[in-house]
């Protein structure tokens, strides 16, 4: 059974609906990536899962079922008990998420005292253990330091220590390595994946970085302008993407392991920008889509199953692929 089940989630502001009819699930111990560029609604989705939407935004419809319970129906008090204990979250910029006037120890012990009722001394011992768990050298000494004394990578490790303090079943990581240098990014991803295995935790990875997705995700949900346009395990998604937007992204991104160079030809662009989605009554990607048909401009396409675990919200490529499949088969 899925650990997290998001069904038909719609998030609305008074004059905008940035997430519409989003459904996806996360299984225990699985890494699911929610991929999209700015304006896709991926970060807002993460906040909605934890009941942390900014003021003005609300869940207009849909369910967020976690271990069988609908989180959207919980009272604030009950939701607070889930948050930090069963579901935890880390953000892109660790410095703004850590309190600059408290020691690392203070910030870690707060969580374990609140959720696990540990004594002051036991909580401090636990804080040192947690710093060690996230591979911070000299945890005994570091526990009494303040965030400004740490590098960006170390701060993100501290955020991770706080997040996993209560052994959550689900960790939501919103662009966890975007602000970090590439060698440090590799360390943090390696750490997150190790913790996922060791603590039997699922990981919901929110990112714009296709490289990170390709290496670390089991399953991928691609979002565009508030809707899911494609969902698949990482291998078919990268080998045989179906949605024109997914294909466009993969074509547009230079990849280190491939041989493409500017002297051999330009990158394949996706024309226009996501801003064009706002005025669209049909498929939000239609204004930028190379395969657009008249019907695309009038009706919003629903995700359709192209294979057991691969869905795509594009009738044009869906039909083509199935015809192709028949012809080959």
């Amino acid at each position: 059974m899925a650990l997290l089940n998001v069904e038909d989630l719609t998030i609305a502001f008074p004059r905008a609906t940035p997430v519409r009819g989003l459904s996806f699930s996360v299984n225990p111990r699985e890494t699911v990536a929610l991929v999209g560029e700015s304006g896709s609604g991926k970060s807002l989705t993460a906040l909605a899962l934890l009941g942390l939407l900014p003021s003005g935004a609300r869940i207009a419809s849909g369910r967020v079922a976690f271990a069988g319970r609908d989180l959207t129906a919980l009272k604030d008090r009950d939701l607070r008990a889930v948050r930090g204990r069963d579901i935890a979250m880390i953000f892109q910029e660790p410095m703004t998420s850590l309190n600059p006037v408290l020691t690392l120890g203070d910030q870690i012990t707060e969580v374990v005292r609140l959720h696990q009722g540990l004594s002051r001394a036991a909580a401090k011992r636990r804080a040192v253990e947690l710093l060690d768990l996230v591979r911070i050298p000299e945890p005994q000494r570091r526990v009494d330091e303040h965030p400004h004394q740490l590098s960006g990578g170390m701060r993100q490790r501290v955020m991770i220590a706080i997040a996993v303090a209560c052994s959550p079943k689900l960790l939501i990581a919103d662009e966890p390595t975007t602000a970090l240098d590439v060698t440090i990014q590799a360390q943090v991803l390696d750490l997150l994946d190790g913790l996922r295995r060791d603590l039997d935790m699922a990981l919901l990875l929110i990112t714009h970085d296709l490289g990170v997705v390709a290496e670390w995700a089991d399953r991928v949900v691609v979002m565009y302008a508030g809707r899911k346009v494609e969902e698949a395990p990482f291998a078919p998604l990268f080998a045989a993407p179906l949605h024109p937007y997914t294909r466009g992204l993969l074509n547009a991104s230079p990849r280190l392991e491939e041989g493409h160079h500017h002297s051999l030809g330009p990158l394949l662009e996706i024309p226009g920008s996501i801003a064009s989605a706002a005025a669209e009554t049909g498929c939000a990607f239609a204004p930028r889509c190379p395969l657009v048909r008249a019907a695309c401009r009038t009706r919003v396409p629903e995700p359709m199953a192209a294979a057991d675990d691969h869905s795509v919200a594009c009738p044009v490529t869906f039909t083509r692929e199935s015809e192709h499949g028949l012809a080959v088969g």
Partner: protein
């Protein structure tokens, strides 16, 4: 002759009691029509190097030659001419465009400062500049906040090109942009280079982008260039352990969930390690590396490497 030639350039800052050696004995050249990529992590000095070339930061020592002329000895007037020939495109186009100026003022400003043409011809030139970067002419009356991130970077490029420079220093020009917009801007920069015969110094932390865009690559670590080479040789035969680690650290779908290549943090540029500055993180480091700084040596095919043990490392 190289368009730009940098010799033993140093840019040091006083920082409290310490000396911050942001650029520490750097030499390289850029040929006319060439794109040189400069990669490195934060604090390696790559942005300071870009600013030093424009004389926005004064070098502590060393020489910068542009077209054979030493930039350090230029008179006020000649320096102005130099800055016309060498322009810059910044990472965050919003922070580098005055929010209270219209596009006409932003693009016309450099022309007026350098006294190019009369008022009427300047308007014509600003319109041409918009055409070149794919923005509509009615953009002239609008303000930066009315544009998307990608459009603002097009404006940044239009402004950099309006004085018809010969060298453009691009400092992380696509790092703040969404993936679907990155390709548009990279292609635009490519077209501009071909159409206008430009050279670029392309500064980026993103190896995949540099892999695609640069003809030659410099790898910088804590103020120094540790390896350089043509794109073909550097990416197929990286020799310095740091270059290899950088390449290994890039997420790669063909090696699922591989271990991080380097442990430990980047040292602070305020406390540069003795000997080879990479030795505390280097898998090949020996006692020699702790005391003796390796000098850059040529290893054929235009490639250089500054490492005592580059030959020992297994072929990548």
């Amino acid at each position: 002759m190289a368009l730009l030639s940098v010799e033993n350039l140093r840019a040091h800052y006083r920082d409290g009691g310490a000396t911050l050696r942001a650029v520490d004995d750097v030499s390289f050249q850029i040929a006319a029509g060439e794109t040189v990529g400069l990669v490195g992590e934060s604090g390696c000095g790559k942005s300071t190097l870009g600013k030093t070339l424009l004389r926005l930061v004064n070098p502590t020592s060393g020489r910068i030659l542009f077209d054979g002329q030493e930039v350090g000895g230029l008179s006020e007037r000649a320096l102005r001419q130099y800055r016309r020939s060498v322009q810059m495109v910044f990472q965050d186009p919003f922070a580098s465009l005055n929010p209270r100026h219209t596009v006409a003022e932003i693009l016309g400003g450099p022309l007026a400062v350098h006294g190019v043409g009369d008022r009427k011809s300047r308007i014509g030139q600003t319109q041409d500049a918009l055409d070149r970067v794919g923005l509509p002419r009615d953009a002239l009356k609008r303000y930066p906040h009315e544009f998307s991130g990608g459009q603002r970077q097009r404006l940044g490029i239009a402004r950099a090109l309006i004085l018809q420079p010969r060298l453009v220093i691009c400092d992380e020009p696509v790092s703040a942009l969404d993936l679907s917009i990155q390709a548009q801007i990279l292609n635009l920069l490519s077209r501009m280079k071909a159409d206008l015969g430009l050279s670029y110094l392309f500064i980026s932390h993103d190896l995949s982008v540099v892999r695609y865009f640069a003809d030659r690559v410099l790898v910088m670590y804590l103020g120094r260039i540790v390896e350089s080479g043509s794109w073909r040789s550097l990416w197929s035969r990286p020799l310095h352990p740091y270059t290899r680690a950088l390449i290994d650290a890039v997420p790669n779908p063909t090696r699922r969930r591989h271990a991080a290549p380097l442990s430990g943090d980047l040292p602070s540029p305020r406390q540069i390690p003795s000997g080879c500055r990479f030795h505390p993180r280097c898998p090949l480091a020996t006692a020699r590396c702790q005391v003796e700084e390796p000098i850059s040596r040529a290893v054929g095919d235009g490639q250089t490497v500054a490492c005592h043990h580059a030959d020992l490392s297994p072929i990548h």
